[in-house]
């Protein structure tokens, strides 16, 4: 069954087809299992909806109900009065302040992000503070720009002394186990 035929079957179930067309669909349904199944499914669905749909009733008649709404709109338009909103003077003043404040906050965040991620590294940014904390050790620091590496080479002061005296001894493993 194609879509058009299915719609036609649905219209027939809803009693919306004129006489000749209704008879054609009725004949189709009686001779076609697929169409018959669709009809029974549609009727079942309609039965569920009819049995379970909550009916909401307005206490007034529909005409009176809608005329009340229309009259209220006309009254408000005529008096130039709007529905009371929380737009008191304080609220309006606060809002006037908050609009530029939000913009300023956004600009500051973008600026901070730009500064953090895109600003070129200054000399002070790259400055390194090094300090030997052991009297037994000395250090040499250097930066390998190509390998993006900052190296601190540590050696025992005794080593220098020993080298000076041409009595080199292998370093003891002070740090490495």
């Amino acid at each position: 069954m194609n879509g058009d035929l299915m719609l036609k079957v649905q219209a027939w179930v809803d009693g919306e087809l004129p006489g000749e067309e209704a008879r054609q669909v009725e004949a189709l349904v009686s001779g076609n299992k697929e169409a018959a199944a669709l009809v029974s499914e549609l009727r079942l669905t309609r039965g569920f909806l009819q049995g379970n749909e909550t009916a909401l009733k307005v206490p007034d008649s529909p005409e009176f109900y809608w005329s009340k709404i229309r009259r209220e709109i006309e009254r408000l338009d005529a008096s130039g009065q709007s529905v009371p909103a929380p737009s008191s003077a304080l609220w309006a003043a606060l809002r006037r302040f908050m609009v530029p404040a939000s913009g300023l906050a956004l600009v500051m965040i973008v600026a901070a992000l730009s500064f953090k991620y895109f600003s070129p590294a200054t000399f002070e940014d790259q400055m390194v503070e090094v300090e030997n904390l052991s009297e037994e050790m000395s250090s040499i620091s250097y930066r390998s720009q190509a390998d993006n590496m900052f190296v601190v080479y540590l050696y025992a002061k005794e080593q220098t002394k020993a080298e000076d005296e041409s009595q080199f001894d292998p370093l003891d493993d002070l740090l490495f186990q």
């Binding site: 500051m108 190509a146 490495f176």
Partner: protein, 154 residues
Amino acid sequence: MSDLSSRRRLPWPVVTAILLILGSPVLTAAILTIEAKLIWATDESKSPDANHTPVDPVTADRLRKTFKWKNYFIVKKMTKEVPSRGSARFDLSKKCTVEIKELEGPRVEVVLIGEGKPVHRAVKPLNKGESFVYSGDDKNETAWFVMITDLEQK
């Protein structure tokens, strides 16, 4: 109608508050994910310690370009988060510990501790991808390295 237009307006106080809340971490500090590796360098092709594993080829290439040794083995590798304005301790061996503190800047303070005693302190910015390396000679023409890398800034 004025009622409808007022409803469509953005709640600017809320927008401002959200922007400031989102922006405040940017203006303050970062949580660092730091990897610390204790590396042993030698010209021998194998380490006598079966627990040592060769460093990854990229790191090995970087180290070979700067240092003379042919082969580099990981003795211990640790990854920890260093909280904003806080510190983390990396115990890389019984004798070797590194303490890293996140400072304003953002910069890091690295303190190398040997056998429980502070040996060296450095304060520097640690940029993403950059490595801070402590090195020293070891027995039989070998060397040790402590390689500190900022993996990710949050």
